[in-house]
């Protein structure tokens, strides 16, 4: 299995509080991604990174920010959590960009915003 860890694995937080999720990889892959998965929506891309300090928005980026100061770490921050951000968050990595390159997914973080 690819070396990807996510922390925390579970979190319950209150509306309006900031939350940071961490993705850590040991594969030295250039590309890292954050997805959220909700019933009825499949997986949707939030943000992705193509290198240290290089990030871009995905299809559902509103309310989220990311940072990548080291190759191995990709942080997802909910500036002010809302109930609509209750979801399962997955981090993924890939060696190169493109559908023809396999993406490896982490175990996920289940976030509940009350």
């Amino acid at each position: 299995d690819a070396g990807i860890t996510q922390s925390p694995r579970h979190k319950v937080t209150e509306t309006g509080t900031p939350v940071t999720l961490r993705c850590h990889q040991t594969e030295n892959h250039r590309y890292m991604y954050w997805y959220r998965q909700d019933p009825g929506h499949g997986l949707r891309l939030i943000h992705y990174s193509y290198g240290v300090k290089d990030t871009d928005k995905g299809e559902v980026s509103d309310g989220y920010s990311v940072s990548r100061s080291k190759t191995e770490d990709f942080l997802l921050t909910l500036e002010s959590a809302t109930s609509s951000q209750t979801s399962v968050y997955f981090c993924a990595i890939s060696e190169e960009q493109g559908l023809n390159y396999e993406q490896y997914f982490g175990p996920g973080t289940r976030l509940t915003v009350t």
Binding site: Y31, Y33, Y35, G40, G42, L43, R44, L45, Y48, Y50, D56, G58, E59, F90, A92, S94, Q97, G98, L99, N100, Y101, E102, Q103, Y104, F105, G106, P107, G108
Partner: protein, 112 residues
């Protein structure tokens, strides 16, 4: 990105062969067809990828007809542990920022 259509759910029994078909009428010349598998409470994982004809690996086979407007994932002799959601993705990636558009997937339930 080519839109894909696949059945929402399928049921099977242990030992049977399962075929899941994905329609992608608007597939482009440079597009690959990729399948991911997701077990409950886990992230998706890559199963197989192809461009045309047939691809086989230790997990599955992928059949792609000449017109490439559909593809079929074949799982031989399924077991209970094959119960999962299977996603069909189509694209070349180079024009989509590496995004994977998963859609709803097919929920496969294998019964004893």
């Amino acid at each position: 990105l080519a839109k894909t259509t696949q059945p929402i759910s399928m049921d099977s029994y242990e030992g049977q062969e399962v075929n899941i078909t994905c329609s992608h009428n608007n597939i482009a010349t440079n597009d690959y067809i990729t399948w991911y598998q997701q077990f409950p409470s886990q992230g998706p994982r890559f199963i197989i990828q192809g461009y045309k004809t047939k691809v086989t690996n230790e997990v599955a086979s992928l059949f792609i007809p000449a017109d490439r407007k559909s593809s079929t994932l074949s799982l031989p002799r399924v077991s209970l542990s094959d119960t999962a959601v299977y996603y069909c993705l189509v694209g070349d990636g180079h024009n989509q920022g590496g995004k994977l558009i998963f859609g709803q997937g097919t929920e496969l339930s294998v019964k004893p």
